[in-house]
C-alpha cells in the first residue's frame, strides 16, 4: 500500500471512531427521549432523524457545505469555516450516520419491560440509577448494533465527504475517496486492494454483530 492509502485508512478510522463516540453520547439521550415521550413532536423528530436514510448524500453535503463555510450558520462561529476540515467531516458524518445509531437504540429502549423500571423505582433506584443499572445492561445488544452500524456506515461514506471534504491527504482524504481517485487514475490494482479490504471489513463486522446478538441470553 502506498503512504497516501495508509494515511487515508488512518483518517477513515479516526473519523469513524470519533463519529461513533459522539453519536453514542448524543444519540443515547435522543433515543431514550424518543422511546419514552408522548410529545406531539415525536413523529417530526423521528422523521428528521431518518432523513439521511432517504436523502441523496449530495443534498446533505450541499447544505452542509453552505452551513460550514466561513460565515455559514455553523462555520460562522470559526475564523476560517469548517468546510474542508476534519472537524467538518465529523459533523457531516455524525448527521449522516445519525439514524444508524438512534434507531437501534430506540428499539432497544422501547423493548424494555416498563415493569422492570417500576420495580427498580420501588427498590430505591433514582431515575439515573435505573438508567445505568437496568436500561443500559438490558440494551446491550442495541448498543453493540448502534456502535457497529454507526462505525461501519461512516467508514463507507462517500457522497457527503466528496461535497465537504476537499480530498486533502492526511486531513480529509478517506478510503472511499482514495478508491475513487485510484479508479479515475486507472490504478485498478490499488482500487482492488482497498475495495476488497472494505468489503471484507464490512462483512466481518456485520457477521460479528449478528452472531453476538443471537447469543444474547436475555432478549
Amino acid at each position: 500500500m502506498e503512504a497516501a492509502d495508509i494515511s487515508a485508512l488512518w483518517v477513515t478510522l479516526r473519523l469513524a471512531l470519533t463519529t461513533t463516540l459522539i453519536l453514542l453520547l448524543l444519540g443515547t439521550p435522543l433515543a431514550w427521549w424518543l422511546a419514552q415521550t408522548q410529545s406531539r413532536f415525536k413523529t417530526a423528530v423521528e422523521a428528521l432523524v431518518a432523513l439521511p436514510l432517504v436523502l441523496p448524500p449530495t443534498v446533505l453535503g450541499f447544505y452542509l457545505l453552505i452551513a460550514l463555510a466561513p460565515g455559514g450558520i455553523i462555520g460562522g462561529f470559526t475564523t476560517h469555516g469548517l468546510a474542508f476540515s476534519f472537524t467538518g467531516l465529523v459533523i457531516g458524518s455524525a448527521l449522516y450516520s445519525l439514524p444508524f445509531v438512534v434507531q437501534p437504540l430506540q428499539n432497544a429502549f422501547g423493548s424494555i419491560n416498563p415493569l422492570n423500571l417500576e420495580a427498580a423505582s420501588t427498590l430505591r433506584a433514582s431515575p439515573l440509577d435505573r438508567f445505568f443499572s437496568i436500561v443500559l445492561p438490558l440494551s446491550r445488544p442495541g448498543f453493540i448494533t448502534a456502535a457497529t452500524l454507526g462505525f461501519a456506515h461512516t467508514v463507507g461514506e462517500f457522497g457527503v465527504v466528496l461535497m465537504i471534504g476537499g480530498n486533502i491527504p492526511g486531513e480529509t482524504q478517506v478510503l472511499s475517496i482514495a478508491i475513487y481517485d485510484h479508479v479515475e487514475a486507472l490504478e485498478y490494482a490499488q482500487a482492488h486492494w482497498l475495495s476488497g479490504g472494505l468489503l471484507l471489513f464490512s462483512f466481518t463486522i456485520l457477521f460479528l454483530v449478528y452472531r453476538q446478538n443471537s447469543r444474547w441470553p436475555h432478549s
Binding site: L115, E118, A119, S121, T122, L123, I134, P217
Partner: protein
C-alpha cells in the same frame, strides 16, 4: 401515630379512584374487590407509582404525599417493598443480585434483616446463582418477595402475588406467606380477589368497590356479616377462633373448643392448648329444628338465628349466634319456608366440613 392513612382522588380513562381509609399499622390487611374495582390503582398510589391529583398519605406518622402542601415523595425515596403480579425480576441479574438490588441502595443504618435469613424464610438459598429465566413461576415470586423484604421496607405492598400461578404453585407459596405473616413487624397490604387466599393470611379486610373503600374491619367481623359483597361469594363463611383441647388417637381427630361449643376435625399436628382459626363455609352448614338423630355428621352446634339476607338463585344467607360466636349458613328459600325459620329461633347447625386456616 401508627397506621396507614390515605385519601386519593385520581381520574383515569373511564375510571375514578376516590378512596379514603385508615388501616392498621400492623399485620396483613387484605384489599379485596372484583377486577376493575381499583385495588391495583390504589396500591400504585400508595407506592407513588401513580400520582393522584389530590392525595394524602401517611405511613406510621411519616407523610409521603400531601398534595395540599405540594408534597410528593417519589417511589425511590419511600421505604417500601412492592411485589407485582408478575415477579418483574431483573432478567440480566442473577437471583443474588436481584435480592441485593434494594439492599445495596439502602443506607446502612436503615437496613433490616439479612440475605441468609430471608433465604431461609423463603426457601430460596439454593437459587442464588441462577438467572430469573431458570426459575419456576413460584420460585420467581418468592425471589421477588425476598427482594422486596431486603429493601428494608416500612410497608410491604403485594399486588395479587399469586394471580399468575396455578393451584399447585399457590399451595407451594402459601406456607411462606404464613411464615412471613408470623415474622413481619411491618404492615402489609395484600391485594387479592381470592377469598380463600385472604381468609388464610389476612388479619384485617378492606373491601373496595368502584374505586372507593366500601367497608373495612377485622377479618372475623367482616366474614360474619351477611350483607357485604363477600357474603355473596361462593367461599363465604365465618371465621372462628378456637383452641385445641384434645387429640383423639383412635379416630384420628382433634377436638377444638370455641365459645359456643366443640368441633371435631381431622387430626392436626399441633400441641394441645394452641389457638387455631378455622373457617366454616356457609355452604357447608345446614339447619335443623331438632337435634339430628343418627347421622354421619359429627359436628352439630346449637345456635340462634340472628338475621337473614336474600341472595340470588333462591338462596338465603343466615347469620347464627352460637354462644357468642357467629356462624353463617346458606340455605334455600324453600328450606326456610318449610322449616319456618325466623329471626330469634333456636336451631341446630350441622357442619359438614371445616377448613383449618393459619
Amino acid at each position: 401515630m401508627s397506621g396507614i392513612k390515605f385519601s386519593f382522588e385520581l381520574e383515569q380513562e373511564g375510571f375514578q379512584l376516590n378512596a379514603e381509609a385508615e388501616l392498621p399499622g400492623m399485620g396483613i390487611t387484605a384489599l379485596f374487590g372484583a377486577s376493575g374495582s381499583g385495588k391495583t390503582t390504589l396500591l400504585r398510589c400508595i407506592a407513588g407509582l401513580e400520582q393522584a391529583e389530590k392525595g394524602q398519605l401517611t405511613i406510621n406518622g411519616e407523610s409521603w404525599q400531601d398534595s395540599a402542601k405540594g408534597l410528593f415523595t417519589p417511589p425511590h425515596k419511600r421505604a417500601l417493598g412492592y411485589v407485582f403480579q408478575e415477579a418483574a425480576l431483573f432478567p440480566h441479574l442473577r437471583v443474588k443480585a436481584n435480592l441485593e438490588y434494594g439492599w445495596r441502595r439502602t443506607p446502612g443504618a436503615e437496613r433490616k434483616g439479612n440475605l441468609n435469613h430471608i433465604c431461609d424464610i423463603l426457601g430460596i438459598g439454593e437459587l442464588l446463582q441462577r438467572y430469573p429465566h431458570q426459575l419456576s413461576g413460584g420460585e420467581k415470586q418468592r425471589v421477588a418477595l425476598g427482594r422486596a423484604l431486603l429493601n428494608s421496607p416500612q410497608l410491604l405492598l403485594m399486588d395479587e402475588p399469586m394471580a399468575a400461578l396455578d393451584r399447585p404453585r399457590k399451595a407451594e407459596i402459601m406456607p411462606y406467606l404464613e411464615r412471613l405473616h408470623a415474622e413481619a413487624d411491618i404492615p402489609i397490604l395484600y391485594v387479592t380477589h381470592d377469598l380463600e387466599e385472604l381468609a388464610r393470611i389476612a388479619d384485617y379486610l378492606a373491601l373496595i368497590e368502584k374505586g372507593h373503600i366500601l367497608k373495612q374491619g377485622p377479618l372475623a367481623e367482616m366474614f360474619a356479616s351477611i350483607d357485604l359483597p363477600i357474603a355473596r361469594d361462593e367461599g363465604a363463611g365465618a371465621i372462628i377462633k378456637t383452641q385445641i383441647t384434645q387429640h383423639d388417637d383412635e379416630y384420628h381427630l382433634t377436638h377444638l373448643h370455641f365459645c359456643g361449643g366443640e368441633i371435631l376435625v381431622s387430626r392436626i399436628e399441633r400441641a394441645v392448648g394452641e389457638p387455631l382459626n378455622i373457617r366454616i363455609h356457609a355452604r357447608d352448614v345446614s339447619l335443623a329444628l331438632q337435634p339430628p338423630g343418627e347421622s354421619s355428621i359429627l359436628n352439630v352446634v346449637q345456635a340462634t338465628v340472628m338475621e337473614m339476607a336474600d341472595q340470588t338463585a333462591g338462596r338465603i344467607m343466615v347469620r347464627l349466634d352460637a354462644g357468642g360466636t357467629p356462624l353463617l349458613a346458606r340455605i334455600t328459600h324453600k328450606s326456610q319456608a318449610r322449616l319456618g325459620i325466623e329471626t330469634g329461633m333456636s336451631v341446630y347447625a350441622q357442619i359438614k366440613s371445616v377448613a383449618v386456616s393459619i
